[in-house]
């Protein structure tokens, strides 16, 4: 049985934050779950996926976050508890649905999880999604720890049903990817089927309906203001003249700092866990007895702005600080020492920083950046692409996935990237305004997610670019989730369809479509060259399964290669491919047979034909 399905209240387990969140949702009786995978949220959906294989929980990998939210909104309005999981930038994709769903509301609980990523461990920006609460008018809950996340998610479903509107559950990476001991609670029954009652004058958001629904949203907002003011998630610890207001993981750092600085009798801490709407009366009362207040929150000055406004309304003039240059930054994530030092500084508490060793004599350590795997098919495609476009002036808009790593030398494939799917849309703009050859690069999952509209745009507006679709038959970067192009039957999953990228592209009217097998370098170069010569939109589909995924599926492996004594050390293999299976030993070029996947790309480019498959003994 899946560990998150165990019906054993009181059991203590070590859970990853994302597992704790999934467990909380299962305890709440969630019956319908949807997602588009994105770090740091991915393990929540992975666990839903696994649980759905052995229970009546419904789970789907949706095409993108907007679709994920749309399916979940319909499920919740058919009376089924639903959850929709995405990373922070995914909410941008879903925002169109979100903003008006806030008007329409839900019949049963709908929790929208946004996993924010301060410091951008694996994201293109570090936007603070608490502002989506303000923008949509929906309530936001945010936990401070893994164990609290599990409990809070159950409450989020109840809150959603109480208010008849979706609740945004905001985490940050250090909740998602932290591990702690979590106590299991009782499992609520899953109700997987409901019904939808027609009520077009409340569901069909034409202007006349929406004008009324906005009134309803604002009335709901008043209700949530009452709820946030009495919420157990907005609580106060301690008494004293120093006031600290904090949220999320900062609460942990503050609590530890209060102990470290021995200021328990001087500090009063307000932890905000129900952060939209902000609890006005709780904050107003909190001001009483405070000499000064420090607001400690990662990301934007979301709480600080609200707190200062509340102080103004109440004619409170005590100093309130947070995001200022010498205290706390809007940049990156916080850490315990940073919070401790800021508290000491702001409240004038004597503080001696830990004695750190002098590290100035440590030599520069070679970087260890993430790299495309040994034998990655993207490397082969990128090499062929560079060869095919040799001598041309190019612009290469790339996209989001493992292949983004190809922008690093020596492959250097990637010039412009702003969001999922942007490679196809930006291609048209570059092609129109420059005389350079535009070659866009996108993965299979990202193509389905949001690459298709940009391609349609290119065909319709007659832009001149080549789109290379890297079809590795999985969503590799986030942990090998399926996508609409994947042969699910081949993976022993029943009940799925499969969409052919080739048919989609041809169906959109692209005149020049070629499928290449990227490990065949010469043919691939020729095919890409022809596509580059084509005027208009041309598409190359580079088809080769992700080698890492193949390995994990224990599919038949190819023989590794070795560098024979014919090698004259041109080093084209190393300098042009950057494959991590290569290493240099006593100035000889070697291939690690444990890493080599036998893709044979290096063997094809070696001017001496010195690279050969390892022979059987």
């Amino acid at each position: 049985m899946h560990k998150l399905l165990v019906d054993n209240p009181g059991q203590k387990s070590l859970l990853l934050g994302n597992e704790a969140i999934a467990r909380g949702a299962i305890e709440a009786g969630v019956a319908f779950t949807s997602t588009y995978p994105g770090t740091p949220s991915s393990e929540i959906s992975l666990n839903f996926f696994q649980v759905s294989q052995e229970s009546d929980l419904y789970f789907e990998y949706s095409t993108n976050e907007k679709v994920a939210l749309e399916v979940a909104s319909a499920a919740a309005n058919s009376g089924v508890r639903s959850m929709c999981v995405m990373k922070h930038v995914g909410v941008n994709v879903a925002a169109d649905a979100l903003m008006t769903l806030a008007y329409v509301g839900v019949k049963k609980g709908l929790v929208i999880l946004t996993a924010d990523d301060p410091y951008m461990f694996s994201s293109q920006n570090e936007q603070d999604n608490r502002y989506y609460g303000k923008l949509s008018g929906l309530p936001i809950l945010e936990p401070s720890s893994v164990d609290e996340a599990k409990e809070m998610i159950i409450h989020a479903f109840d809150l959603s049903e109480k208010l008849q509107e979706p609740v945004i559950f905001r985490t940050t990476t250090r909740i998602n990817h932290s591990t702690a001991i979590v106590e299991y609670g009782a499992l609520k029954e899953r109700i997987t089927k409901g019904d939808f009652t027609k009520d077009p004058f409340n569901y069909v958001t034409v202007p006349a309906v929406s004008r009324r629904l906005h009134v309803k949203l604002l009335e709901n907002y008043k209700k949530s203001e009452e709820l946030t003011n009495t919420s157990e998630y907005n609580f106060i610890n301690g008494t004293g003249p120093y006031g600290i207001i904090c949220n999320g993981v900062s609460y942990g750092y503050v609590s530890d700092a209060v102990n470290d600085l021995c200021i328990k009798d001087k500090v009063k801490v307000l932890r905000i866990g129900f952060s939209h709407p902000m609890p006005k009366s709780v904050i107003r009362d909190f001001f009483n007895g405070c000499e000064k207040i420090l607001v400690i929150e990662e990301g934007e000055a979301y709480m600080e702005e609200a707190i200062k406004a509340i102080a103004q309304e109440n004619k409170i003039t005590i100093p309130i600080a947070g995001k200022t240059e010498d205290l706390l930054s809007r940049l990156y994530e916080f850490d315990p020492a940073l919070v401790r030092e800021s508290m000491a500084k702001y409240f004038n508490i004597p503080y001696k920083a830990i004695d750190k060793p002098d590290l100035t004599d440590i030599p520069e350590i070679p970087q260890r950046p993430p790299n495309l795997c040994a034998g990655c098919s993207h490397r082969a495609t990128f090499y062929a692409l560079q060869k095919a476009s040799e001598g041309m002036e190019t612009i290469i808009p790339n996209d989001i996935g493992c292949y983004t790593l190809g922008f690093m030398p020596p492959l250097s494939v990637g010039d412009f990237l702003i969001c999922m799917g942007s490679s196809t849309g930006t291609a048209g703009g570059f092609a129109q305004t420059t005389d350079k050859k535009v070659i866009s690069v996108i993965g299979d999952s990202t193509f389905f997610h949001s690459g298709i509209p940009g391609l349609i745009n290119g065909v319709f507006n007659n832009h001149n670019f080549t789109l290379v679709i890297l079809d590795n038959e999985t969503t590799a970067m986030t942990g090998h989730q399926p996508n609409p192009g994947v042969d699910m039957k081949g993976l022993n999953f029943e009940g799925y369809g499969q969409i052919s990228i080739e048919k989609v592209v041809k169906g959109l009217g692209v005149q020049h479509v070629t499928i290449i097998k990227p490990y065949k370098i010469r043919k691939s170069v020729e095919a890409i060259r022809e596509a580059l010569d084509f005027k208009g939109v041309s598409v190359i589909i580079s088809k080769e399964p992700c080698t890492l995924y193949e390995k994990s599926l224990k599919k038949k492996q190819r023989k590794p290669f070795y560098v024979s004594d014919k090698c004259k050390k041109h080093k084209d293999c190393i300098n042009d491919l950057g494959c991590p299976a290569f290493f240099i030993e006593d100035s000889n070029i070697k291939i690690d047979p444990a890493m080599c996947t036998g893709c044979a790309v290096c063997a094809q480019i070696c001017p001496e034909n010195a690279i050969m498959p390892v022979k059987d003994n």
Binding site: H177, S178, T179, D256, P366, P370, I574, G578, F582
Partner: protein
């Protein structure tokens, strides 16, 4: 309860996350509060994987620079890279078998000299335990058991509030059945190596 802060650093694929899981499970068995964090995602693409484990009465799940009580590194250059986490009282345990990053192969960086690296580390912290954990894992019969060798050495220092027995129980329950025997052997070899270096 005293707080103990441990950083484990490794190269993706070396089994860092499993060793953290074993220690977390051992803490659960010992009724010791534990919080851990790790950065996922790029591990399989050859990047650095760093875990933080905090034992005792603490709410944070990460460790600031200069605040680790113990640093365990699965790779010598990575030990050096993680020195910013250490203070003068820190105990550092490192594997000495290098895994040169690809940047060295393509000539954009030089791998540090192993002897000099050890001198540098010992000069900055209270104790350095350094040995070839790959050789010991081979001796135990499983080259993938570098993580278990290092757990053994870590257990020997007695810095964590965990008993050897509980860590071994966690190895038995949390690692793959077919590897339990070699994992335990690897653990013991690491333990005796650290004892020798005491």
């Amino acid at each position: 309860m005293d707080i103990t802060r441990l950083i484990i650093t490794a190269v993706g694929g070396q089994g860092n996350l499993l060793s953290s899981k074993v220690l977390g499970e051992a803490a659960l068995l010992s009724d010791i509060p534990v919080r851990m964090s790790e950065i996922h995602g790029m591990a399989q693409r050859g990047g650095v994987v760093e875990s933080a484990l905090l034992f005792g009465d603490v709410k944070s799940t990460i460790i600031s620079d200069g605040e680790a009580d113990v640093l365990v590194s699965f790779e010598p250059a990575e030990a050096l890279r993680a020195m910013n986490k250490c203070k003068s009282e820190t105990v550092v345990i490192t594997n000495l078998a290098p895994l040169p990053p690809f940047t060295v192969t393509i000539g954009s960086g030089a791998y540090p000299d192993i002897d000099k690296l050890q001198d540098l580390i010992s000069s900055k912290v209270s104790r350095l335990i350094a040995f070839d954990a790959v050789a010991l894992s081979k001796e135990a019969g499983n080259i993938m058991a570098v993580n278990m060798v290092l757990l053994g050495a870590l257990a020997q220092t007695g810095i964590l509030p965990l008993t050897v027995e509980n860590i071994k129980t966690a190895i038995k329950t949390r690692t793959k059945k077919t590897f339990v025997e070699t994992n335990l052997k690897a653990f013991d070899l690491g333990y005796s190596e650290a004892e020798k270096q005491n």
